[in-house]
Amino acid sequence: MKKSKYDGSFYLNPYLGGVILGIALLLAFYISGRGLGASGAVKNTVAATVNIIAPEHVANSSYYCQFAGGDNKPMNNWLIYEVLGVLAGAFLSGIVFNRLKFKVEHSPKITSRRRLVFALLGGLVFGFGAQLARGCTSGAALSGMAVLSFGGYITMIAIFGTAFIAAWVFRKNWI
């Protein structure tokens, strides 16, 4: 089938991409004894920000005090550095595959505004759920699966299982 909008960009074979991602995950365990992550960096940034504005509030919160305040250094954290690396790596890939461009990607049937509202709400809901499950698709599901964590598998099944059903509810935004 002919590609309708050829913009000179192309993608890596997904299995090759998966092997590279798997090697990154393997290296994380071999070198640092831990998996990859993403939402943890947001959690630490939020905790660090609240700690600057209201340190007493952090000390009194049974959630924040696990990550900020006291001897915790939430911004000098493995995940924060890893996330900066992810941004740099994606940027490099964008150069290699000619995909660098500021744009809102959305289905032609919806407006950019609607796409952005749902992106914001989706991020909000995802961020909330990732705290409850102690990690997101990378931190809980993928990294958990690599070390055969029962909880990691449960989280993975819950995320993908729900997304299959919920995607149908929001299908007008996508197809």
């Binding site: 991409g17 959305h106 964590s149």
Partner: protein
């Protein structure tokens, strides 16, 4: 060198964050080059027109699982030193369901939204911004969810123990399941009407 090389003292802990940047770069490159900067490509899995998520995610999971078992078998990694995500059954399920809803609304997960930001996708930036609000709301209302957060605790339980089989045998079945899914995905993709994106 028996891994993890940082905690076993072979490499100074000062290097840990430098490795974090390098590992993150490999991860970011893998995500973006596979197409995870595009929410419409990601969400294709749930409508059957593009299974890149299934292919990349499960390939990565089996590469890392098999890799760690081999490294452990050859005595190159001390499995007991690895961080194994502890199991809190209730919060893992409820949190996963909430994430699944957010996934289908926003079209990204936290890691893929970073890949999208790296190539300038504004929807990725907005998704990432939304996460800060969600994390803040959870943290502020933690007392409401505290009981659920700690309930169903089973420690760092491994899935092969649940089935009463060895880690190697479980991983073997995982590979079979993944290969089955890859063929299934290819079959479904052929049947589903192509969506242009």
């Amino acid at each position: 060198m028996i891994g993890p090389i940082i905690s076993s003292g072979i490499v100074s802990p000062a290097w840990d964050n430098i490795f974090a940047v390098i590992i993150g770069m490999i991860m970011g490159f893998a995500l973006e080059s596979s197409g995870f900067s595009s929410s419409r490509k990601i969400i294709g899995t749930f409508f059957g027109y593009d299974f890149v998520v299934v292919k990349v995610f499960f390939t990565a999971a089996i590469v890392a699982s098999i890799g760690l078992l081999y490294l452990s078998y050859f005595g190159l990694v001390d499995y007991s030193q690895l961080y194994i995500q502890p199991t809190f059954l209730t919060s893992a399920i409820v949190g996963g369901i909430i994430m699944g809803i957010g996934f289908s609304m926003g079209g990204f997960c936290p890691g893929t939204s970073l890949a999208a930001i790296g190539v300038g996708r504004i929807d990725g930036m907005v998704f990432f911004g939304g996460m800060f609000i969600g994390v803040f709301l959870f943290s502020e209302s933690f007392s409401l969810f505290e009981k659920m957060y700690y309930s169903g605790s089973q420690g760092p339980k491994m899935i092969n123990e649940v089935f009463g089989i060895s880690p190697e045998l479980f991983t073997f079945f995982l590979v079979l399941a993944a290969v089955g899914m890859f063929f299934g995905a290819a079959w479904v993709q052929k049947k589903v009407k192509k969506v242009e994106y």
